[in-house]
C-alpha cells in the first residue's frame, strides 16, 4: 500500500487552481478559433483573448497593451533578455545579471555572449541576496544594454533587493528586467522594472503560458522572426484556452495571495525550525526572514540527493533538489554554488493552496528517519 501523496513542489508547478480548470473547460468550447480572423467564431475568440489580457494586466497593475502571452515562462525570459539587448544594441552589448538567475535567463545570456556580446555576473551573499554595491557598479559601467534580476530566488526563496537594484539601474539609465515567476500570484511585485516575466503554472494556471510585460517607453525589439501576434512580441498563435485559464487563475490567486502567504509563511518557519533541530548535520539555506512565503531549501550532509528524493517519493512526498546527481548535467545548482552552501543532499520544499498543516507535520515527522536510514546505509553515521 502506498502512502498518501503529498505534493510539495509548487515552485516547479503548482496544482491547478479550480478556477483554471473551469476557465479552461469553458474556453475549449468557446475559444478554439483563431482570434486574428474576421468571422463570428474568431471574434468570440478575440473577445476572450482581450478579456484575458485586460484581467492579467489589471492584476499586475500594467496596461493591457504592455502585456503579451508567450508559449512558456522560459520563452518569456528568453524574449525579455534577448529583446532587451536587441532594443539597446546601439548603447552597447553588455548584459548584467545576478549569479542566481533562472537557467532560462542564463541560457539567453550564453546565446548573447556566443553572438559577440558580454555578460557580467553579479555575486550573491551566503543568504542568496545579490550584492547591491557590486550590482550598482556593474550597471553603471559603459555599454550596459540591460540588467536582469530575479525577483526572488526560485531555489532558496531569498527575496532580492529589487527596489535598490532598480534605483541603481535608473541612475545609470539601464532598463531592468525582473523575472517574477515566483512572485506573481503569491507576493507583491516591486516596481522600478522595465520588463517583467512570469509563468502561469507557478500560480496554479496551466503549463505552457508565460507573461511578458514591456513597459511603455522601453527600448525592446523582438528577437524572433517577424510575426503579428501579441503586438509582434512573440510569434505564433496563442493557446487561447490555456491563456484564458491562466488569466482567470491569476486573478483568483492574487486575490488570495496575502491570506495564503499569511497561512504558508508560518508553515515554512516551522519547517525551517524543525528540520534544523531534528535532522542532524543539516544546513537550512536562504534568508530566514526576507523570503518567499511558500518555499524552503535545506541540504543534508553526507546524503545523496537523488537517493533522498527517491526515498521521499516512496513515502509519498514530491519535492525537488538542486543536487548535482538530480540534474541532467550532473552539475550542482548554480544558485547553491553561488551562495557557497552545501549542494549535496539538497531538498527544496514549496507549498501551495492545497498544502495542509497535517501534510507538513507528516513530512517533518518522517524526514529525520529517512535521512537517518540513508546515512546508515551509506555508513556515514557519526562522521
Amino acid at each position: 500500500m502506498s502512502a498518501p501523496s503529498v505534493y510539495l513542489d509548487a515552485a516547479t508547478a503548482a496544482p491547478p487552481h479550480p478556477v483554471a480548470r473551469q476557465a479552461l473547460l469553458a474556453a475549449l468550447d468557446d475559444g478554439w478559433a483563431d482570434p486574428a480572423r474576421l468571422y463570428t467564431q474568431a471574434r468570440r475568440a478575440r473577445q476572450l483573448l482581450d478579456a484575458a489580457r485586460e484581467a492579467a494586466a489589471a492584476t499586475l497593475g500594467v496596461r493591457a497593451d504592455e502585456l503579451s502571452f508567450t508559449p512558456s515562462g522560459t520563452t518569456a525570459a528568453h524574449s525579455a533578455v534577448l529583446g532587451g539587448l536587441a532594443g539597446r544594441r546601439r548603447v552597447g552589448g553588455a548584459l548584467v545579471h545576478s549569479a542566481i538567475e533562472h537557467s532560462a535567463v542564463l541560457h539567453a545570456a550564453e546565446r548573447h555572449v556566443a553572438a559577440g556580446g558580454t555578460a557580467t555576473c553579479v555575486p550573491v551573499d551566503r543568504l542568496g541576496r545579490v550584492e547591491v554595491a557590486a550590482w550598482s557598479a556593474a550597471v553603471a559601467a559603459p555599454g550596459v544594454a540591460l540588467a536582469a534580476l530575479i525577483g526572488a530566488s526560485h531555489e532558496v526563496g531569498t527575496v532580492q533587493p529589487v527596489a535598490e537594484a532598480a534605483a541603481a539601474c535608473a541612475a545609470a539609465g539601464v532598463p531592468l528586467y525582473v523575472d517574477a515567476a515566483q512572485l506573481v500570484g503569491r507576493a507583491p511585485v516591486p516596481g522600478g522594472w522595465s520588463v517583467l516575466t512570469a509563468s502561469a503554472h507557478k500560480w496554479g494556471g496551466p503549463p505552457g503560458v508565460g507573461l511578458l510585460v514591456v513597459r511603455k517607453g522601453t527600448r525592446w525589439e523582438s528577437p524572433w522572426p517577424a510575426d503579428e501576434r501579441e503586438s509582434g512580441r512573440t510569434p505564433g498563435v496563442v493557446n487561447l484556452p490555456a491563456v484564458v485559464a491562466a488569466a482567470a487563475s491569476l486573478r483568483a490567486a492574487a486575490a488570495d495571495a496575502a491570506a495564503e502567504a499569511a497561512r504558508l509563511a508560518p508553515l515554512v518557519d516551522l519547517i525551517r525550525a524543525r528540520v534544523a533541530a531534528e535532522v542532524p548535520d543539516v544546513e537550512v539555506v536562504g534568508d530566514p526572514v526576507d523570503r518567499l512565503p511558500h518555499l524552503v531549501t535545506f541540504s543534508c550532509l553526507y546524503v545523496d540527493g537523488e537517493a533522498l528524493l527517491h526515498a521521499l517519493d516512496r513515502r509519498g512526498f514530491a519535492v525537488s533538489s538542486g543536487s548535482s546527481c538530480t540534474s541532467s548535467t550532473l552539475r550542482p545548482s548554480h544558485v547553491l554554488e553561488a551562495m557557497g552552501v552545501l549542494s549535496h543532499g539538497n531538498v527544496r520544499v514549496s507549498l501551495h493552496r492545497e498544502t495542509t498543516p497535517a501534510q507538513v507535520e507528516r513530512f517533518l515527522a518522517e524526514l529525520p528517519g529517512i535521512v537517518t536510514e540513508l546515512r546508515a546505509e551509506a555508513g556515514v553515521v557519526g562522521l
Binding site: 549569479a99 555575486p123 551566503r126 548535520d281 544546513e283 550532509l301 553526507y302 546524503v303 545523496d304 543536487s323 548535482s324 546527481c325 550532473l330 552539475r331 550542482p332 547553491l336 554554488e337 553561488a338 557557497g340 552552501v341 552545501l342 549542494s343 549535496h344 543532499g345 551509506a378 556515514v380 562522521l383
Partner: protein, 87 residues
C-alpha cells in the same frame, strides 16, 4: 563559487601530509572520504582531496565551514582541495 577569502587565499607553504584521490567519485563521496580521513591526521596537517565531481568545489569548502575545519586552497590540477585539520 565560494567566498573570495576562501578561494584566493594562497596555499600553505607546507606540502600536504596526504593526498586522498576521490576522482571518479560523485558527491557526497569525496566529502565523506574527507570526513573519514581528516580526523586520522594530526591537528595542523593538510589533506589534499582530489575530486573531479564539480559539486566538490562547493561542498568541500561548505563542509569545512560546517565542521570548523580550515579550507586552505583549491587547485585546478586534480582538481585538488586542501583542508587543514584545526581541531
Amino acid at each position: 563559487m565560494t567566498g573570495p577569502d576562501e578561494v584566493t587565499r594562497p596555499a600553505a607553504p607546507t606540502a600536504p601530509a596526504e593526498v586522498l584521490d576521490c576522482r571518479g567519485q560523485r558527491c557526497p563521496l569525496p566529502v565523506i572520504g574527507l570526513a573519514r580521513r581528516l580526523p586520522e591526521l594530526p591537528v595542523g596537517a593538510v589533506l589534499r582531496v582530489l575530486a573531479d565531481d564539480p559539486a566538490a568545489a562547493v561542498d568541500i569548502p561548505a563542509w569545512c565551514r560546517m565542521r570548523g575545519q580550515e579550507f586552505v586552497a583549491a587547485h585546478s590540477e586534480g582538481p585538488g582541495y586542501e583542508v587543514r585539520r584545526t581541531h
